[in-house]
Amino acid sequence: MAKYFGIIIDEKRMTAIKGTSLEEKVEPIFGGALKRLVIEVSDELGQKVIDQFSKARFDARGFIEETPAAFKRLVFKKLVELKFLGPEVLEKALEEIPTIKDEIEKEDRELPVPDIDISDILELQKNPIQKPIE
């Protein structure tokens, strides 16, 4: 059974692949709320990716998930370089994992907090409906 590696395509990444054959392979998900590219790989290559990272795993859809964000950035970089949506992209990225080792380690300790206003939920939480019981 094939396995899959998905790469989320935001505006910045879309710009990077504009005009290439990759652009037409971008698929909408969740009704277009997100866009992604999908690389299909063999079981063996999928397992090779999983084995590199302690948290990584196949999810129920057969996707390789919970790889570090630094690895996803590396895969996208290789994708842009090779302009091709095939397993070779992941193979190249695997070869270059040593170059992102520090980034991966840092990711396990810190991830930047999104800069969004959460005051509305803090307000809602001031009057919880469920109260501690004695």
Binding site: I8, G31, R57, R61, E65, R109, P114, L124, P132
Partner: protein, 464 residues
């Protein structure tokens, strides 16, 4: 004509709710006088990371979540559970519940059958273990037999368990000496916020259901921040009932040392609560509750424990989805539903767990999958929607990956308020997921604080 309305909550598993809590300080003092040694409860570690704390099991036993279990299992009880998933009394129970100590600690304690051991938590007296039997285990053997193997359980076990599985590691990290006997809490812990407002042990849960006038209640198991697929599951599954949909939807979050990469428990409980605070499910119909347990991720085996807990709380139906309480691909993704639709003979169930002697009153609501379909314009049920290539399937791992990359999940995945709860705890804890730092700090603080209680003089020099 038969009245099909359900007028009462289901009976507890095993007939009555266990409650082994002494609330009278004088009585607690008298019980402590009978103890011959003191043991400070310590977490179990795997590769330096805490993965289990027996205090959570003591709480769940003594407050009746695990009724009819009353303490750490004897050797005969352990064998019965591993071989048949039944207690010696015949009631279904899936997991070994054990009080384990190292050989070194056992020698220092100098206790044996007939002795009482005072257990301290966070430096305060907490509970008493009435030692009935002392025996040795082989932790890895317990781990393998607990979860099964492809050879012995071919119906659902696909690959052998290994050290990538947190539950397997929990059993592998047990100490080799088991002290078996009943637990009694003598100094009632106080749950810390935010967990205190979700603490509904079985007796309290039943009182609350009665106060709300609920007789038909459905349980939703969670170890996750709810995405819109979970929300759809809860709402749709609750259409089961008697002459109308269920009165109550009870979310029961498993609180404890979970795997690295899962969401922190604080975010999980508050994110579920946010579904009613922000009005997506009426609070009159929705309750968030917790059970203290270091999750074993045992899919069909874990589902049996969920049935024990939730039936004891007074719940009549249980939602079982794809990959229920699972981790990795050790089990068939529908292993729990196989168990609850036809049974798994190799695990001791030649019929579903509600149709075997010693089984459950609680009934399954086996749900395939919800996905987001822009053509149906709804969170569609997989047995309805045929729009392959258009619909998008949910995946908790995928969503965690989005957060990792700094992508804000769209409202089709997370309600905005739910995402903000994740961000709140991200700010508070410095990280959105469980990591080593969080798990270590969490085990220091735990979910509870204990009031100060003086120990008898004769015990002060017998602390291990």
């Amino acid at each position: 004509m038969q009245d099909i309305r359900i007028k009462d909550l289901p009976p507890p598993h095993g007939g009555k709710i266990v409650e082994r809590i002494v609330r009278d300080p004088q009585m607690a003092r008298r019980l402590m006088e009978k103890c011959s040694a003191v043991y400070d409860i310590k977490p179990n570690f795997f590769k330096g990371v805490p993965i289990r704390n027996v205090y959570r099991e003591i709480m769940s036993v003594c407050y009746g979540f695990f009724s009819p279990v009353e303490g750490s299992m004897t050797k005969a009880e352990l064998e019965s559970v591993l071989n048949k998933r039944r207690l010696l009394s015949g009631w279904v129970f899936p997991y070994p519940i054990l009080f384990d100590v190292s050989e070194e600690d056992f020698k220092r304690l100098g206790v044996g059958p007939g002795d009482w051991l005072l257990l301290r938590l966070k430096g305060e007296p907490f509970a008493i273990l009435e030692i009935e039997e002392v025996y040795e285990i082989n932790p890895q053997d317990i781990a393998i037999r607990t979860f099964g193997t492809p050879e012995k359980n071919p119906e659902v076990v696909k690959v052998p368990f290994d050290h990538k599985h947190t539950g397997y590691n929990i059993y592998c990290s047990l100490n080799p000496i088991i002290l078996a006997g009943k637990y009694t809490i003598i100094n009632e812990p106080k749950l810390r916020p935010p967990f205190n407002r979700f603490w509904y042990p079985p007796k309290k849960a039943r009182e609350e259901f009665k106060r709300r006038g609920w007789t038909t209640v459905i349980a939703h198991q969670t170890r996750n921040v709810p995405h819109t697929g979970h929300e759809a599951l809860m709402k749709m599954a609750a259409y089961i009932g008697d002459i109308k949909p269920c009165d109550g939807i009870v979310v029961n979050a498993i609180i404890g040392a979970k795997r690295i990469g899962d969401f922190p428990d604080e975010a999980i409980v508050e994110a579920h609560e946010m579904l009613h605070l922000a009005g997506y499910i009426k609070p009159e119909r929705h309750m968030v509750t917790i059970t203290l347990w270091d999750m074993r991720y045992g899919n069909p085996i874990e589902s049996l424990l969920h049935a024990v807990i939730r039936q004891n709380m007074g719940i009549s139906w249980h939602m079982f989805g794809r990959d229920h309480a699972a981790l990795g691909d050790y089990y068939d993704v529908y292993a729990t539903q196989i168990l609850w639709s036809k049974g798994i003979p190799s695990f001791g169930f030649d019929a579903p767990p509600y149709a075997v002697p010693g089984g459950f009153y609680i009934r399954p609501q086996n749900i395939a999958e919800f996905w987001y379909c822009p053509k149906c314009k709804e969170f569609a049920y997989s047995d309805n929607c045929t729009h392959k290539g258009i619909y998008s399937r949910y995946s908790g791992s995928f969503i965690r990956g989005l957060l990792n990359e700094g992508v804000t999940p769209p409202p089709e995945i997370y309600r905005p308020e739910v995402y903000k709860v994740v961000v709140k705890w991200w700010k508070e804890l410095g990280y959105p997921f469980n990591n080593e730092k969080y798990l270590k700090e969490r085990e220091e603080k735990l979910e509870v604080d204990l009031p100060h209680m003086d120990m008898p003089e004769h015990l002060k020099k017998k602390i291990v």
